[in-house]
Symmetry: C2
Subunit: 475 residues, 2 copies
């Protein structure tokens, strides 16, 4: 099943590994947190750094593309073969917020290697996975003796993915001609485990909102007024409690409209994976599973839509007590969406539902962030087979299929560019995306390098198939 | 009904008013916030300041009494009449937390007079109401030509009332001999309004707890794990939502055990008060009333037990979004209790109930603060009639009866000292207890001074009645 690995690729990677890791560490030191306005300069600095690094890699074109928010980076390296297919690689250079006091063992923006793992915010999500493409294309050239890649290679690395990619779709629309590709490779997902390499075939979408409830004009005495006026903290709790029914289903009318249900074949493929609930719980850092009745854990995280509370707050949260009825309360909700769900319809359903959840005397304000669509790759797609072959060569073993519970703007690329979207990610669940002590395994990072060293030749050889393949929402 | 006011009392107050207000302002500048550990020195400084001020007033004994927490102040001024009854005045010198950014128009600890009102944290709750006793006893002496009060006057001013009086009962028990009194006067309550002077006949009790729910060991990615593990923020919301049924009743089994229901006579007296819902809502700074079905607003706040959320929190509450499942969430709850409810039984009921509210995989931790008992004064108590007469003389009009929705350690004094508890407070609902821009109306503050100037003589004359009166939980 797996092909012979290339000793030239191995040797090249070994020679350049130290410099590659030094460069990645330099990038990780830039705290490019797109959600925090005070980090805007750092996000810009991250884009400039990456564009310079891509030029250094050999990309003849490497540009910083401004947006109304944080900038993206675009690069291209044309093939010297006029018939070469065009591949667009997607990633992001912004990261989640992180602070030492959240539970990090070391500064999240001072990368350290411990026990073969590189710890830093963005190590896995997503700077590490963007960066393996730089050494990958050099290894591809060196091993094949080419002076330009076997494919027309393009990269688009956005700066607002962790903030819901508010300007990405417009950017893609604006530059659709330059971004045009036969296939899109998204490097912002994970694998099953270090021992079970997998290709992801879909990501969930994401709708996010902040709901703010206003009660009294200011905090009032809970003795003098308690029991006789509506309390916004109680109201926000009752709203959140009404999100789910007793079966763990989202209880918002219309929320499930259009959901593409799992096929029997997909449920079988999921069930074939070596899922160990105890081990998964350790990765999830959780004490128990919990969710929608009638679905397995993998089905719940990969193929079912959710409603989760990301944050809730109101009133006095400090030391001691303060006997008040708070004037306001808020909740930050995120909804993961699956193929068939429509962002606009979900927002409409949430708004209609929420309006009925609060008592008289409480003002409701809901703000949605721009959302992210769900997407799915058909299991029989020819370019997916190229990815599988390249991975099997690098990992020296069979590659299986998963989906990703997280979200990315892949569906926008698919829709605007009309190109099929494939996923190539080497992160594993224990890498701690969005959590303290995020890390990437160095061995896997270099397997990512190796996979891309093989992939461009394979895709070029199978371009005819890839170009005629179809892609859509349904499996 | 009302007796003739005393021109000597008026003249005395007028002469000393400016110095009295300057002294009060000096005390209000000390930020004696008992709930904040970093203010512990300020609370001690407040006790020292008060003891010195009471000595300056003329109290032969004025001592700072340490506790394991914040100190109390004790003072006594024996009567020169060997048959005089003994009165113990209760108040507190600690205040609620306050910060300019909570919505204060001026620094909460820099008192300012605007439009006849003195604005500062503690102006009404409770420093202003403690302090009117200093000028009051001087006016009493001056107007009666006495060199010592007509009653043996004692003051106990605690420093932890806003933190639930955790050490007050033990302090009272320790010093029960020195605190022994024929009657206790609590100056930590309010009146109906500036136009409708009232005497309070009862306070609600208070049980407070913080409930902390622990889920994942750390924040985890809501995409990778969302929908498949229990979310502590969702769990805390569902717990809070389960606090009340759809009729606004507290849904904790056993919570209402022993509650002394309102009598028809009390409901009539409440209904006779000039209650204006629109005006009350303005005072409550709220948009609507809300509460237990079958009870009026006054009944809800004065005579019904409640469950209120004082604070709720968990996960990301900052700007932008963070797609996590938070590792923990908390809620601070307070329960107002009425006569007949037992603190220990309420805590037991809450613990038993809460244990059933969280899903598997969520750890529950509940911490109760020491509580405050509810109390009630019988409407026909002879000492209550002395208070009514003194107030009617000061206010020149009829005095009505209310209760207080708030809580104080009056019931402990009643229980430990075996003395009836009466309430003398001149604050009004718009004074903003526990809220930004707390204030006291200067005219009412001086009516408090005047009332006590009359009260000690009246109580001394009617001591025989007071001494034989009974007091208990039930009206």
């Amino acid at each position: 099943m797996s092909q012979t690995p290339d000793s030239a690729v191995h040797a090249y990677i070994e020679r350049h590994r130290a410099a590659f890791l030094d460069d990645l560490a330099a990038w990780l030191r830039i705290p490019s947190v797109s959600a925090q306005p005070e980090r805007a300069d750092d996000v810009r600095r991250s884009a400039d750094w990456l564009a310079a690094a891509l030029k250094e890699t050999g990309f003849p074109v490497a540009e910083v593309w401004p947006t109304p928010g944080a900038p993206a980076v675009y690069a291209e390296w044309p093939s010297d073969d006029p018939d070469a297919p065009t591949v667009l690689v997607y990633g992001h250079h912004d990261v989640q917020p992180a602070a030492r006091e959240d539970g990090w063992d070391s500064d999240p923006f001072e990368p350290v290697v411990r026990d073969g793992k590189l710890y830093a915010r963005g190590a896995a999500d997503d700077k590490g996975q963007v960066f393996f493409h730089t050494l990958g294309v050099r290894a591809h050239l060196d091993a094949t003796g080419r002076t330009a890649p076997a494919v027309n290679l393009k990269l688009i690395v956005e700066g607002e993915e962790e903030s819901g990619s508010p300007h990405f779709r417009a950017l893609v629309e604006e530059h659709a001609d330059r971004l045009a590709a036969d296939v899109v490779i998204v490097s912002d997902t994970g694998m099953w485990s270090a021992d079970t390499p997998t290709v992801c075939t879909g990501m969930r979408g994401l709708a996010e909102c902040e709901i703010r409830l206003e009660g009294p004009y200011q905090d009032i005495h809970s003795g003098s007024f308690g029991g006789a006026v509506p309390n916004p903290a109680t109201a926000v709790a009752r709203l959140v409690a009404a999100l789910h029914d007793d079966e763990g289903r989202v209880a918002i009318p219309g929320f499930y409209d259009g959901v593409v249900e799992l096929t029997d074949r997909e449920r079988e493929l999921f069930a074939e994976l070596p899922f160990d609930e105890e081990r998964w719980l350790r990765t999830a850092k959780s004490h128990a599973t919990h969710g929608e009745t009638g679905y397995s854990t993998l089905e719940r995280i990969w193929a079912r839509p959710t409603a989760e509370v990301n944050g809730i707050g109101g009133g006095y949260q400090g030391a001691g007590s303060k006997t008040i009825i708070p004037s306001s309360a808020l909740v930050k909700l995120s909804f993961r969406l699956v193929a068939g769900q429509d962002l606009g319809q979900v927002e409409k359903a949430v708004r209609a539902w929420a309006a009925h959840q609060v008592p008289a005397g409480i003002q409701l304000d809901i703000r949605f962030s721009p959302g992210t669509r769900p997407c799915l790759t058909p299991l029989d797609h020819p370019a997916l087979r190229s990815v599988v072959r390249a991975m099997e060569r690098a990992f020296q073993g069979p590659v299986r299929f998963t989906r990703e519970g997280g979200s990315g703007p892949a569906a926008d690329l698919q829709e605007v560019l009309g190109a099929p979207v494939l996923f190539l990610g080497i992160s594993i669940p224990s890498d701690g995306w969005h959590a303290p002590n995020e890390k990437v395994e160095l061995d896997l990072l270099l397997k990512g390098v190796e996979t891309t060293a093989y992939l461009w030749s394979d895709l070029a050889e199978n371009a005819g198939n890839a170009e005629t393949a179809e892609s859509g929402d349904a499996p």
